[in-house]
Symmetry: C2
Subunit: 219 residues, 2 copies
């Protein structure tokens, strides 16, 4: 038992140490790192690609985390964003060392804001430091309005929460009031944005929050 705890603590410390190194490197280059988390298919890639153009003149890049494949990095590059794909090879979340490797492949001097799209997962990425300046959690309306109650950790530590696919809310039977009530039991302060990347609804408010935090320092 004691052995297991020792191993876990050592792994944890190693990740914290690498996360701190990432943060130092980012701060030295004036780049803000935004850790984007959400379930598979919650719309992380779509949101990032729709948000980046709204942040001009800030220059954005993206680190794409997936268990396998490079679909998202190819999509980001096609949209004109500097992109690096990280394959976790089975791991259910990104770790700081994976982000460190991706940072070495990124033109940091040419960037202001770097999105990290974490592995699609509402459980495992929670609380795993990457060196990020902000944690953003997405929840799409077709997933239902009960997600904060079922996956509390990731919502508790979010700096902003974004309800995506607003255009499907009515068809999906999604209640924003129910979602917000469940979120507020865990997290009283994080702003809640309701957006549709497809129609553009709500995108300006979310982008303004991000721009302000990136300019003034996402901390």
């Amino acid at each position: 038992m004691a052995k297991i705890i020792t191993v876990r603590r050592s792994v944890f410390s190693a990740n914290e140490r690498v996360a701190a190194e990432n943060r130092t490197l980012l701060d030295r280059n004036g780049v803000r790192l935004v850790n984007v988390m959400g379930a598979p298919g919650s719309g992380k890639t779509t949101l990032i690609l729709a948000t980046a153009p709204l942040l001009a003149p800030l220059r954005c890049g993206v680190i794409e985390g997936d268990v396998a494949g490079d679909l998202d990095a190819r999509e980001a590059e096609a949209a004109g964003l500097p992109a690096v794909q990280v394959n976790t090879g089975g791991s259910c979340h990104l770790r700081a060392d994976m982000v460190a490797e991706a940072l070495r492949a990124m033109p940091l001097a040419e960037l202001d804001l770097l999105f990290v799209e974490n592995v699609g997962n509402l459980v495992c990425p929670a609380g795993v430091s990457l060196g990020e300046h902000a944690n953003v959690v997405l929840s799409s309306t077709p997933e239902g309005d009960d997600k904060p109650e079922k996956y509390p950790a990731v919502f508790r530590t979010a700096d902003a929460v974004i309800v995506t696919k607003a255009e499907l809310a009515e068809l999906a039977g999604f209640s924003l009031a129910a979602f917000e009530a469940r979120l507020r039991r865990l997290n009283a302060l994080a702003p809640l944005f309701v957006v549709s990347a497809r129609t553009g609804a709500g995108m300006a408010g979310w982008a303004a929050w991000l721009r302000e935090r990136a300019g003034g320092g996402l901390t």
Copy 2:
């Protein structure tokens, strides 16, 4: 390093042993266990509750796995199904010992088929034996048609794959051909069902498969 491997192997063996015990207990009671996996909000609870009435005269029950809360078990009980909620307390998938505990609380002698709704997660439940007779993976149309490519392990080991929320496919821009092509690269044999629990479309085919397997033995 050797120490870590030892610990992991021992944990793995323990799970396999408990899974085998679960299987023995289920077989002795003539109960088939179906492990239902999918992303958060993919429609696992809704599908299970819509499927159970179609399986009559087979008698169904459900074990609900969640990180926190008892929303799903309460919903299942309200629908008249014997239900047990398992809270994993942070763990990202069910383990055989959690199912063993739930089985002790279930009226096995009165059941023919027991659904296990795993934690919403497309990564971690893959390959974790519970003693199940069949592994079923859900993927909802709003998640997009690229999920098999991004989360291969869980699709590779599926005995059946179910595309849910078919009524949202067009609005969500979901291509069934693209999904199926990606699935078939990993899994040539598992039947693919396209269903809408809301409209009932496709439910008869999936229920017939399940009934046949449950009657003839899900192995």
